[in-house]
Amino acid sequence: MDTVLFIIFAVVAIVCAFNLVLQKHPISSALSLIGVMGSLAVLYLLLGAEFIAMAQMIVYGGAVMVLFIFVIMLLNAGTEKPSSKSWFAQFAGLPLLLAFIAILGFLIRAALPEMRVVQFGSWVGGTAEHIGQLLFTQYLLPFEVISILILIAILGAVVLARKEID
């Protein structure tokens, strides 16, 4: 059951990711991205990280992507016209992509020498209680630093918006 669900949603995620790049219209791309986010949330859920799955849905699937769609609708952005490709992109694009993937794969292999097989449902540290406990003990400093960072970002946004009005 878990494996079947994993295969379905992994395929959906990959198809949506390709569709995101291939679509000409910004709204189609944005919706494909929502599809990717949604299937990732299901994958998190399968791995037992229910809190992360819901946060993924609320923050990325909801707030962030609504903002994207909102801006696209507000600007009424139409279909993109394909630009004439530069000779560099035409000839070196595909080899460079393959090289990048190869290096990435090599680095991951090197960084994680002992990879274990993931088993669905075996991990139980994903509940809200566990994550809260970790956030306020082991990862307290990063947590507080990030909250201050977000506060600064909000203040910056307010300052920029005020300048626009005046």
């Binding site: 819901m54 609320i58 909801g62 707030a63 609504v66 769609i69 909102f70 009424n76 509940t127």
Partner: protein, 394 residues
């Protein structure tokens, strides 16, 4: 195996009841609004217009399904589907009662118990903006686009106070699942004050409840926050270009969202299925209410305004009497008492929704945004701070 069978039975029951409520909520709304405005409301189809919802459903099903040539086809057809399916999903995690024991089989009165229940509701709410936004955009019509934009801006703005205010009952209950939140509200102070969250101390949570309800009105696009479909400005807003079943999908999603929000309000603040009175008395409230309703029906039959009332009202009265007998059986109490109290609270909140629609005028758009950001959001923040402070100290 029996788990699947029981789940299927529960899904069938909840789906049936939910769909019937959806259809009849609209009848109730039209009736209540009519009586607020000194009219009679639907009266022609069936006694007291009771068959009106069926007639409406058939009308919507058999109408011509128009597909305007200028719309973006794929998204135009996708939008009502997203709206209605997301609106109907949330009911699956709402608990209607405690664990019951039917023929020796223990089960929860709930389709599934998700242990991040409230987050699930928030996630569904966050994603359901797309139905409205896409409908507005794909219709290729300026009124629809404005409606969709208004709706998404409104839902983003009101999501903040909505989410912040949900945190305070969570702090009191120390749980994220609806069952845990409901169980935390069982029992009574001094033997008679229920431990519902709105009566809980740090800073009586009734303020949180009021903020929740206001934000809930905005989230479901209801009067006085129904700017996305303000007919005197935007024709019909985001669903201007939709007809027949596709329009019905948006209509259904609005009412389904209303029911979900009231269920969540009941679970978070009004003590879920826990009665207002301690045990021996609360069991007899339901039969009492039904007997009073039956007596009212009989008295209305005696002085019926129309000839037909002399036959219809006694039938309703008999129906209420049968209900009273069913609810008076101690054998059924483990099911009937929680269901009665849950439905009574949800029904009261739904009535409040309709009442407000009949009473308040619509906001102006800048007032709506101003209200969200400069009043409701700070109120929710202060409420959260005070509650967290009190929970930490006591």
């Amino acid at each position: 195996m029996s788990f699947y069978i029981i789940s299927l039975i529960k899904i069938a029951i909840v789906f049936g009841v939910f769909m019937t409520t959806l259809a009849y909520l609209q009848w109730v709304e039209r009736k209540v609004l009519a009586h607020i405005q000194s009219r009679t409301g639907p009266l022609r189809v069936g006694p007291h217009g009771l068959m009106q919802p069926m007639a409406d459903v058939f009308k919507l099903l058999t109408k011509e399904d128009l597909l305007p040539p200028y719309v973006n086809r794929f998204f135009y057809l996708l939008a009502p589907f997203i709206a209605v399916s997301l609106a109907l999903i949330s009911i699956s995690i709402i608990p209607f009662g405690p664990e019951v024991n039917i023929f020796g089989y223990h089960t929860f009165m709930q389709i599934s118990d998700v242990n991040v229940g409230i987050l699930f509701i928030l996630a569904i709410g966050a994603v359901s903006v797309y139905g409205v936004a896409l409908a507005g955009w794909s219709s290729n019509n300026k009124y629809s686009l404005l409606g969709g934009l208004r709706s998404s801006a409104q839902m983003i703005s009101y999501e903040l106070p909505f989410t912040l205010v949900i945190v305070s009952p969570l702090l009191l209950a120390n749980h994220l699942s609806f069952r845990g939140i409901a169980d935390a509200q069982a029992g009574y102070y001094l033997g008679f004050i229920p431990r519902w969250n709105i009566f809980q101390m740090p800073f009586p949570q009734i303020f949180a409840f009021i903020i929740f309800m206001i934000a809930g009105f905005a989230e479901t696009n209801r009067v006085p926050f129904d700017l996305p479909e303000a007919e005197n400005e935007l024709v019909a807003g985001f669903h201007t270009e939709y007809s027949s079943m596709k329009f019905a999908c948006f209509f259904m999603s609005e009412y389904a969202n209303m029911i979900t929000i009231t269920c969540v309000a009941t679970l978070l603040f009004l003590g879920a299925w826990h009665p207002l009175f301690p045990a021996p008395y609360s069991n007899w409230i339901a039969p009492l209410v039904f007997v009073v309703a039956a007596l009212l029906c009989f008295s209305a039959a005696v002085q019926g305004a129309r000839k037909r009332d002399r036959t219809t009202f006694p039938i309703f009265g008999l129906g209420f009497l049968v209900l009273a007998v069913v609810f008076a059986f101690p054998l059924f109490w483990q099911v009937t008492v929680p269901i009665f109290w849950f439905c009574a609270k949800v029904g009261f909140l739904l009535f409040t929704y309709i009442w407000v629609r009949g009473t308040l005028p619509r906001f102006r758009y800048d007032q709506l945004m101003h209200f969200a950001w400069t009043f409701l959001f700070p109120c929710a923040l202060i409420n959260l701070l005070l509650t967290a402070f009190c929970v930490a100290i006591f």
